[in-house]
């Protein structure tokens, strides 16, 4: 057979024991990426992540569009978390253009981004559940996130791709009865997600499956530069909402959830605790929000940036999300770089999966709160 192949192509010689599995992109358990996994029996010998299947060149595209028209496409990397993805860009552009955001807009931004965090986390939780073989945990979060999507839809006018934040505020004021509507949905949502405990988080089979799977120690979590739930599950108390509060987070009481264990179970529990905390933040923000007022600073049609650079970061559903903008006094940014949580957590994957059992692969991989589209940008 080998003789018939053209030069340059050769069939990989199989070692007697080591077998190479291409987990993805067609594999049902991979998402939009590929993991080249070498297994020895049921043990993973090495794992090489191969992202890039959904690379869209968002950063290159941003260099050709002006500051406002960048908004609809810069939120595309994570459409379920689109407010948070856009947040650092807006903060950065505001600093470049020297804009002061109205108080009401700041609160509404916080509400929208916390709602979006819940929506994203529910989606992630659904995927995490189905990859552990728990089909109910796929259906419940996927259904319950509908309450918050509905709230966001009434607020922003779109289900997922909101394009709601702009430099200088938000696009539109909220409808009448917004407070009642959002509080009602958030209350019901909180009641629903508390029911996940009995069937998922306190389920002894899940605990035995994910506990001690892919343990990331505190030192390694810091050394590898992980972020978000991965970092906080390893015992590092680092949340930008309290450490570097942006907009009105310093006026709100934010509790940071940390767990010591650093295993898959802790990593998967942190986002759930964060959702409960988000419900609290939304309630506080709705209470403290100014009841009326301006929500947007008027911009010139094509604002020219200054000759400067900024690096702004926010806490998104997947961890710290930074946006590095270099401006050169033109309507278009000179360079936009997004430093995303998924890409920073990608480095853990070969590190954690080495020596792990193949059965632990989905548990470890998806507990990293990894979103392939965001990592590829």
């Amino acid at each position: 057979m080998t003789a018939q192949l053209p030069p340059g192509l050769e069939i990989e010689k199989l070692d007697e024991r080591i077998m190479t599995l291409n987990v993805g992109p067609q594999h049902p358990g991979s998402g939009h990426m590929r993991l080249i996994v070498k297994v020895d029996g049921d043990y993973i010998v090495s794992c090489d992540p191969d992202p890039g299947y959904v690379h869209r060149g968002e950063e290159k595209m941003a260099e050709y569009r002006n500051y406002i028209t960048n908004i609809p496409h810069l939120e595309r990397p994570v459409i379920h978390d689109s407010c948070n993805v856009l947040y650092p860009y807006c903060l950065g552009v505001e600093e470049i253009l020297g804009l002061e955001v109205p108080e009401r807009a700041k609160y509404l931004r916080v509400i929208a981004s916390e709602l979006n965090r819940c929506v994203y986390t529910q989606y992630w939780l659904a995927i995490y559940g189905i990859f552990l073989g728990h089909s109910t945990m796929f259906m419940w979060p996927a259904g319950d996130r509908e309450f918050l999507i509905d709230a966001l839809e009434k607020m922003t006018g779109a289900r997922v791709t909101h394009a709601y934040f702009v430099p200088g505020g938000i696009r539109n004021d909220v409808p009448a009865n917004f407070e009642d509507m959002v509080l009602r949905r958030v209350d019901y949502f909180e009641k629903r997600i508390k029911e996940y405990a009995a069937i998922f988080y306190d389920n002894p089979i899940l605990i035995s499956r994910t506990r001690d799977a892919g343990v990331l120690s505190r030192e390694d979590a810091i050394r590898l530069g992980t972020t978000g739930s991965t970092l906080r599950a390893s015992g590092v108390d680092f949340d930008l909402r309290t450490k570097e509060p942006y907009d009105v987070y310093e006026e709100l009481d934010v509790k940071v959830n940390t767990l010591k264990a650093g295993d898959s179970y802790a990593r998967s529990k942190i986002p759930w605790l964060d959702m409960l905390e988000s419900c609290n933040i939304i309630r506080q923000a709705v209470q403290k929000m100014p009841k009326s007022g301006s929500v947007r600073v008027k911009l010139k049609p094509n604002p020219k940036g200054g000759n400067t650079e900024v690096y702004k970061r926010v806490e998104s559903g997947r961890g710290s999300l930074g946006c590095y903008i270099v401006s050169d006094s033109k309507p278009e940014p000179y360079r936009v770089k997004m430093s995303v949580g998924s890409f920073r957590n990608l480095i853990c994957m070969p590190y954690l999966l080495k020596g792990e059992k193949l059965g632990n692969m989905p548990a470890v991989y998806w507990s990293l709160n990894y979103w392939p589209v965001e990592a590829d940008r």
Partner: protein, 191 residues
């Protein structure tokens, strides 16, 4: 933006190399100043403190000294991880700037701080990624977390990182034969 300032010690030309707005003499934030002072005291003219803003410091280093400075930043200043590595292409200056955004988890005082470590590589008109003079020393030995970021930087701008164990493609397709796409001379069709 308003608090931006160039250090008096910085050479006059760096004012032009970096896009810097008009300098307004203003009180510099004390904590950030102390960090930049430490760097300046240790390395003197090897480093250029380009600006000190609240929670942000930008330091420019030549590529010969970057390893030494990075080691000092890690060991003495306790910045322990890299948040991002971005390359910025400046065709007019014939250099590609590589910007490391360094942060700290271990030191609670530094949680807000981002130290921007900038170094630059020479830019080639006809790049041949990996085999030309666009090279920089890799910081992977010092900040382990730059591994994937440097791989991305290599494919996007053609900056080869010497000492990086795994200088392969990451995001781009395997058959990408065009210019590195984040260079300014790579144009999107129709734009």
């Amino acid at each position: 933006m308003s608090t931006e300032e160039t250090k008096p010690a910085a050479p006059a030309e760096s004012k032009e190399t970096k896009p810097v707005a008009k300098a307004e003499p203003k009180e510099l934030p004390a904590f950030e100043k102390s960090i930049s002072d430490k760097l300046e005291k240790k390395f003197g003219s090897k480093t250029t403190i380009e600006f000190v803003k609240p929670t942000r410091i930008r330091v420019k280093v030549n590529k010969e000294n970057v390893l030494e400075v990075a080691k000092f930043i890690r060991d003495e200043l306790h910045f322990d991880h890299a948040e991002s590595v971005s390359g910025v292409d400046y065709p007019s200056k014939k250099e590609i700037e590589v910007v490391y955004h360094l942060g700290s988890y271990t030191d609670p005082d530094l949680a807000k701080q981002i130290l921007t470590l900038v170094t630059s590589a020479t830019r080639e008109e006809n790049p041949n990624p990996g085999n030309d003079s666009t090279r920089l020393p890799s910081l992977r030995e010092i900040f382990y977390s730059v591994e994937f970021h440097e791989r991305e930087c290599f494919e996007m701008l053609g900056v080869f990182f010497e000492g990086h164990p795994d200088n392969r493609r990451l995001l781009l397709p395997e058959d990408w034969a065009d210019l590195p796409p984040m260079r300014k001379d790579f144009k999107i069709k129709g734009r």
